[in-house]
């Protein structure tokens, strides 16, 4: 591979990796800080992607809108709509205990998928939404546009990281960790456990929506298959577990490392004999499944383990 090709290959990996980093930070808010098991990441991701696409595309008869608004409005809409969806879900489900919340969140993702596939007035069904704009799309064309988008995505990653880090060290974050580690004593200390959990869930979902919006603008086209529920949800979980749940830096590092491994296995599997090529994606899924088992058993605290901030004594 010539050098420029290699560079742009790495750029494309870093863009997708950045989107996964946003998702991973979102899951870290929900699971790492709040101890809420969300197995429906793909659903909120998809909601954000569709919200942003509908707000920013030109008027079309095939789906709702488009409203042709600038991209920042699209991303804001992605966060708001995903946040509201998360609020509705949390209002009902946040009281459920861990395993039950996991079951319910799988169901939510499934219902959101059904809505996206069936309500074609809203999303153009399985045909999807085309012509989603890229930021600065009229200024730069071709491969350079990827570089610009890389900057946009990573600006979002840094923004979300700062936000999550602030949340983590704040009294709010401390309360969350107290609830996560010992719900009863947090309740005894007078903390409104359900209200904190609700906030956590909504914040996490809004950030997942942002990630969805970013991916819609990256691919410029959106169909239900773009939000393949298992791949998105599962990879993000593996990333967070490997990176170190509870640690925002760990979430970003985990996302990048796992995404590089995932992409590298693609290079490896493309060397396989032709009759195996079509099956290569299954081999990769198998490997990721095994990787998760390894992480869970031998490597539970992740690459960058959680470190509680020191208590200031002033």
């Amino acid at each position: 591979m010539e050098l420029t090709g290699l560079i742009f290959y790495i750029v494309s990996i870093l863009i997708a990796g950045g989107i996964y980093a946003v998702l991973c930070l979102a899951l870290n808010v929900q699971w790492g800080m709040g101890g809420l098991f969300n197995a429906g990441i793909a659903g909120f991701f998809a909601v954000g992607a569709y919200a942003s696409a509908i707000v920013t595309t030109a008027v079309s008869s095939k789906h709702l809108g488009g409203f042709g608004l600038p991209i920042p409005f699209g991303l804001a809409a992605a966060m708001i709509v995903a946040g509201i969806t998360g609020w509705v879900v949390a209002k009902i489900c946040v009281r459920l205990k861990s395993d039950y919340l996991a079951m319910a969140s799988v169901g939510i993702a499934e219902i959101l998928r059904l809505v996206i596939v069936n309500e074609s007035w809203l999303t153009n069904g399985s045909l999807g939404i085309a012509g989603v704009p890229r930021p600065f799309g009229n200024l730069v064309q071709g491969r350079e546009a990827d570089l610009v988008y890389l900057a946009v995505v990573w600006a979002c990653v840094i923004g979300v990281y700062i936000l999550c880090q602030r949340l983590y060290v704040s009294p709010w974050g401390r309360t969350l960790r107290a609830i996560r580690d010992n719900e009863d004593s947090a309740r005894a200390a007078g903390k409104d456990v359900d209200w904190f959990r609700l906030q956590t869930f909504v914040i996490g979902c809004a950030i997942m929506g942002l990630a969805g919006g970013l991916s819609a603008h990256y691919f410029k086209f959106l169909s239900p298959s773009a939000t393949e529920p298992l791949l998105v949800t599962f990879l993000v979980w593996v990333m967070l577990m490997a990176g170190g749940s509870g640690n925002n830096k760990g979430a970003i590092v985990g996302a990048i490392v796992i995404w590089f491994i995932w992409s590298a296995t693609e290079i490896f599997t493309s060397q396989l004999p032709p009759e195996w090529i079509t099956r290569s994606s299954y081999i990769r899924m198998l490997l990721v499944g095994l990787l998760l088992q390894f992480v869970l058993q031998k490597f539970r605290s992740g690459l960058i383990p959680e470190k509680s901030p020191k208590i200031r004594s002033d």
């Binding site: 996991a102 079951m103 593996v238 299954y282 095994l290």
Partner: protein, 296 residues
């Protein structure tokens, strides 16, 4: 009315039987090992493919080849328990839930790898439904599924209430500390939980695959309804799970009936949401289920 029975009630009972058999395993595993087994649907898929492969070599009726699927599912379940779940048993159970999520992916990618990702059928050709009393038109398969499920349910009931092992299982599910103090071999109980859960899952997988077709996502798509069935019946209550499965199956199918107007009450494309709403409503208002199951 006849249409209602032929087109809604009987298919509902059929899919309900599939849910029932799957939910038995989920309920027992939840009751004894205390975690929601997210790979149970994919265990069904593995069992289904086991029988499908046997049919390729021995071309007789698939239901006669059930032992092959059951054996494959049991071996798979015991292997993942040994290698992936057992090492996590001392930790909070949510880690095992995450692990089972990964196992679901492992099962599915293995199914795609070995049996390719397309739809495959057990037996080709159209079977005419059997007509009873000139009015009921029920397919042969549906009758087989419902009656076999009934037989299994009765056998399970006697196993759990009469046999020593079955009673030990119920004891561990109801009061684990007391059961351990009484000297019950917990590891043996765990092993048999997997054996029974996996066997039922394999049978359910074959039923589901024969009713439509075999594909790698078959089991995962049924998982939500089976969880709903297990919760409805009460966690740790296998008989409750069977009742729950049948109720969920009937509720899903009859929800699309033209109850109040000429339009279906719920559009068939949203059928799978019915189970979800039943489950959430139960978890909020009656989390112990119909038969006083365990609370987490």
């Amino acid at each position: 009315m006849i249409d209602f029975i032929n087109l809604y009630l009987v298919p509902g009972l059929t899919i309900g039987s599939v849910y029932a058999l799957g939910a038995v395993g989920i309920s027992m595993i939840f009751g004894i090992l205390r975690f929601a087994h997210f790979a149970h649907g994919d265990l069904m898929t593995i069992g289904g493919y086991g029988v499908l492969t046997a049919v390729w070599f021995i071309p007789i009726h698939p239901l006669l080849l059930l032992p092959f699927g059951i054996a494959l599912a049991i071996v798979s379940a015991l292997a993942v328990d040994q290698f992936f779940y057992k090492p996590l048993r001392k930790l909070p159970t949510i880690y095992t839930v995450i692990a089972s999520f990964g196992v679901a992916l492992i099962f599915r990618s293995l199914a795609q790898l070995f049996w390719n990702s397309g739809n495959q059928v057990f037996t080709s050709g159209v079977r005419m439904p059997v007509v009873l009393f000139d009015t009921f038109r029920i397919s042969e398969l549906h009758m087989q599924v419902i009656s076999l499920t009934l037989v299994i349910a009765i056998a399970l009931h006697f196993f759990l209430t009469r046999s020593k092992l079955g009673r030990a299982m119920r004891a561990v599910s109801d009061e684990p500390e007391l059961a351990a103090v009484a000297g019950l071999d917990t590891e043996k109980v765990v092993r048999w939980t997997w054996v029974i859960g996996a066997s039922m899952a394999a049978i359910a997988g074959v039923f589901a695959g024969m009713d439509t077709s075999m594909h790698p996502n078959l089991g995962w798509n049924l998982l939500l309804a089976m969880f709903a069935a297990a919760v409805l019946g009460g966690i740790g209550k296998p008989m409750g799970a069977i009742a729950g499965g049948l109720i969920i199956g009937i509720a899903e199918e009859t929800a699309t009936f033209t109850w109040f107007s000429d339009e279906p009450f719920i559009s068939p494309s949203y059928k799978s949401a019915v189970a979800f709403f039943i489950m959430v409503a139960l978890l909020l208002f009656r989390p112990q289920g119909l038969f006083k199951g365990r609370l987490l």
